[in-house]
Amino acid sequence: MTATEKKVFARSPVLTPKMTHYCPGCGHGITHRLVAEAIEHYGIRQRAVCVAPVGCSVLAYKYIDIDMSEAAHGRAPAVATGIKRARPDLFVMTYQGDGDLAAIGTAEIVHAANRGENISVIFVNNAVYGMTGGQMAPTTILGQKTTTTPTGRASNEGPPIKVCEMLATMDGPSYIARVTVDKPAAVRKAKQAIITAFGRQLDGKGFSLVEVLSPCPTYWRLPPTKAIKRIEEWMVHTFPLGVYKDKEADNGKN
């Protein structure tokens, strides 16, 4: 680096140097990086514990270089609750996919949110089960083809579950936002939301959740360049971006 060159980007030291196992064009890599950068932002790596889900990101502990626990499928918010209640001084987060959080783990996420449990949740929604090979997820969009909805998800299979909207009806959560990672500007907004969410826990304000709309080129059966465009063309209509609950802002207003 010469005197005229300015370093504008470096890999977060909270990420391991390993190459991920994620498919080309998957959003997990970017989201992992944002989580790592937010941990770095607050300088909390030495007291951070993440609970990894069952799903594509089951091996997240290989890439995010902090203490990590496993959880049974869907139970990450309960495991995180156990860690946080046992050690309130730790920063505790879960990293969960849509099947984990919104199907098998619905009870755990709803009650952790309702308790205002002082944990942070990163919820990666790609509208499909990735690890098991592309089956219908609770967030699969009506008409979307998956291996278990070969002719497209029909209305009698239920419309997609909108997690942010559902959890925002409760008094417990402090901060709930939906973001995406399809463009550099969106990635920056996503990082800001994750930083806000983590800050709520550090300030003792209670439950925070950031839903990240993420492309799955493999099971959307699209090349990565087309998959990333589908988020704007197709996914945000069902899952509008934005802040769904912000107790601090609400407190300011009221």
Partner: protein, 357 residues
């Protein structure tokens, strides 16, 4: 106090840091007792949304290095099997108290012993065991809860205290030991934040085949050690006994009374009461039945522990079996009458026979 209250006092003396539970009869005195007793002591109490969540909260608190426990009754403990398997696979210590009730399914809220297989064979998926302690009094519900924490930490394994609704509800005097506070156990594997060390992971997942094969070998080595060291049973008047009752928990109390009545008649009866159901006390059973012509096994189930008795004696002694379910239990009178009949009967060579009612 009741056996359920005794669990609360035992847990406190055993150094419980975190309790997570979901209401279910006949163990609700425990969750209410924990709610009343733990927060003033600065310890964690949380009512969970389900037994699935309760055991996962135990999983989390144990991973963070704390003494964590939950309690439930049969249908609730079935739901916990998922988490118990993960805890065993992750080599975490935890305590689970099962105040058994009638089954299958919702069954009823009366005492039963139908969860013996589930408790002693692991209960969830995969090849693991949990230490199982079987109290037969409110005092032992207290004492074994304390001991369960010690064993859990010693072997980094879940420990089950297998009680039943009768023992849980029954009021008895309990001596509350004034134990010194448990010594803190070194838990270098605990998730405490990667301060001055490399980040670490608590998990049961081992995707590469050689890794999971090795992990299972490690677990099995621990189980063999537990089997070698921790077999426990109470032998009551077995030295010269021609008839040895074999029973645990509530059935052991009833059998002991029958033994006393038979001894009053001058008949040589004794009782072998397994205290650890896993590891099953094979050695103690063999020692206690050296002179036995017959074993009389009774259970509030249609034959679960009796299989372990059969495996232990390997056909050397005929076994009579009395089975009950749905909240019924043998009466002392019935045990005494059958014992008397067996002791007066001329010796015959035959294999084990069952009486089912």
């Amino acid at each position: 106090m009741s056996g359920n209250d005794a669990v609360v006092e035992g847990a406190i003396r055993g150094g419980v840091d975190c309790y997570f539970g979901y209401p279910i009869t006949p163990q609700n005195e425990i969750i209410a007792g924990m709610a009343a007793r733990l927060p003033p002591l600065g310890r964690v109490f949380l009512q969970s949304e389900s037994e699935l969540a309760a055991i996962s909260m135990v999983h989390g608190a144990a991973a963070a290095g704390k003494r964590a426990m939950t309690t439930s009754s049969s249908p609730g403990v079935s739901l916990m099997q998922e988490g118990i398997s993960y805890i065993a696979g992750s080599q975490l210590p935890a305590v689970v108290v099962n105040v058994q009730r009638g089954g299958p399914g919702l069954g009823n809220i009366a005492p039963a012993q139908g969860d013996y297989y589930q408790a002693t064979r692991g209960g969830g998926n995969g090849d693991y065991r949990t230490i199982v302690l079987a109290p037969d009094s409110a005092q032992e519900m207290h004492d074994f809860t304390i001991e369960a924490f010690e064993l859990a930490d010693k072997y980094r394994t879940p420990v089950v205290v297998l009680s039943d609704g009768r023992l849980g509800q029954m009021m008895e005097p309990v001596e509350l030991t004034d134990l010194p506070a448990p010594k803190p156990v070194e838990k270098p594997w605990a998730l405490t934040g990667a301060k001055d060390r490399e980040p670490q992971v608590v998990c049961s997942l081992r995707l590469p085949v050689p890794d999971l094969a090795e992990h299972n070998r490690v677990l099995q080595k621990v189980y063999r050690e537990i089997e070698r060291v921790e077999q426990r049973a109470e032998s009551y008047l077995t030295d010269d006994a021609r008839l040895v009752f074999v029973a645990y928990g509530t059935c052991a109390r009833l059998s002991r009374e029958a033994v006393d009545l038979l001894r009053d008649d001058g008949l040589k009866a004794g009782l072998l009461r397994p205290i650890t159901l896993w590891p099953f006390p094979n050695k103690k059973l063999l020692a206690a039945t050296k002179k036995a012509r017959t074993l009389l096994v009774s259970e509030m189930s249609y034959g679960q522990m009796v299989d372990d008795v059969r495996l232990a004696v390997e056909g050397r002694v005929p076994i009579e079996f009395l089975a009950y379910a749905g909240g019924e239990a043998p009466s002392v009178k019935e045990l005494y009458a059958l014992g008397r009949k067996l002791l007066k009967k001329p010796r015959k060579k035959h294999a084990s026979k069952g009486k089912r009612r």
